[in-house]
Symmetry: C2
Subunit: 226 residues, 2 copies
């Protein structure tokens, strides 16, 4: 019978300036001191795993109620140099704006937390590279049948932002006209009487998610392939 300690690690995704980013922390403790790693912590005795992850998210971003989902549990004996430590990995999706770009985590084991573009990731501690790849695969799939994309966008967004997000997650370009046609056909977007501000070119119309229709879509499933 195994009596073991276990932790929760979280891949926190954000979308900013057309790029998908991941929040990494620089460790201030052994093992892997000074390495980059996913935010994570031990799960306390009196909390569910979900609660632990919400706590981790709050400690690292100052935000509550972030969208998150369990990904996978890693339990190899070799994944941690101090012996078997089971980790339940989650991913979280976050509305990122300029204010949240410089998080100051509230825990001692962290030197600092920095948003890293997916294209420029450092080497990660433990098996965190693997966890990150697995969560990418998960959201790549999930974005094509459920509206999780909107968790990464601000309340009001343009169709171009939405398209850039799909392109960032899938790592390939989409056709603008086909994308808009299909997305608008779902009928889950509400056209707002507002436009982008502060741009030096034609301002794009803003949309927001129509939450009444959103829930129907969760049953039917979206299907985006190209």
């Amino acid at each position: 019978m195994l009596n073991s300690i276990f932790t929760a690690d979280c891949v926190i995704f954000g979308f900013h300036e057309g790029e998908l980013k991941v929040l990494l922390i620089e460790r201030n403790e052994y093992p892997f001191k000074d390495w980059w790693a996913l935010p994570g912590f031990f799960v306390e005795m009196d909390e569910t795993i979900d609660e632990a992850v919400q706590r981790i998210l709050f400690e690292h971003t100052g935000l509550r109620g972030i969208y998150m989902e369990q990904l996978y549990t890693f339990g190899d004996q070799k994944r941690h140099p101090q012996g078997r430590i089971i980790t339940v990995a989650y991913y979280a999706l976050l509305r990122l704006d300029d204010i949240k770009m410089n998080p100051s985590p509230q825990t001692d084991y962290v030197k600092r937390a920095v948003w890293h573009p997916l294209s420029e990731l450092p080497k990660l501690a433990f098996d965190h590279q693997h966890i990150l790849e697995k969560s990418m695969a998960k959201i790549q799939r999930k974005i094509s049948y459920s509206p999780i994309a909107f968790e990464l966008l601000p309340e009001k967004f343009t169709l171009t932002q939405l398209q850039q997000l799909y392109e960032a997650i899938w790592g390939r370009k989409l056709d603008k006209r086909n994308f808009r046609k299909k997305m608008l056909n779902y009928g889950i977007l509400k056209e707002l009487p507002e436009f982008q501000k502060g741009v030096s070119y034609r301002a794009a119309r803003l949309y927001r998610l129509d939450k009444r229709k959103y829930s129907k879509i969760f049953q039917n499933e979206m299907n985006f392939s190209k």
Copy 2:
């Protein structure tokens, strides 16, 4: 920091006589003595979680190398009357034939193991009902983009068997002509020069999975909706 014990539970699916079945055990130990439950056990110190599940599968079915995949980790404090016990749930898919219909599990905590049709499930111990529902949802999705169906069929099978399997998993009828057209179009089935035996009506042709093309499909994804 939580020092806890953890277990692995496994939803074992089989397909027999056109019906999807789940292997349940009758518990011989408290808590939930005499209740039906999913096969499961404590994970030992020297094995990975995957190895533990393979061991559970072997102890309950006598078979090795069964297809399995991790599903979800449940860790609520309330899910187990003896306090917090984390369980990592897996599902497994099994080629069921008449020989395997009467398994005799090799462990003391089990009185007996019986295949139950999905339509006639008893009340289950712990949160096992919930785990079972979640694994059904998972294979319902997964069968539409990956060839896991073939893990449930014998080496050689008829198109009708394959269709019945999809129908059992999705819980709805499919059109025979459209199903065959689409399935054969994938090009992953190899037509054999053999036919069903021992039936009192026209014998159906046998097929088997073409494993060379199978791997390609794993990249491209299948897409079965109706």
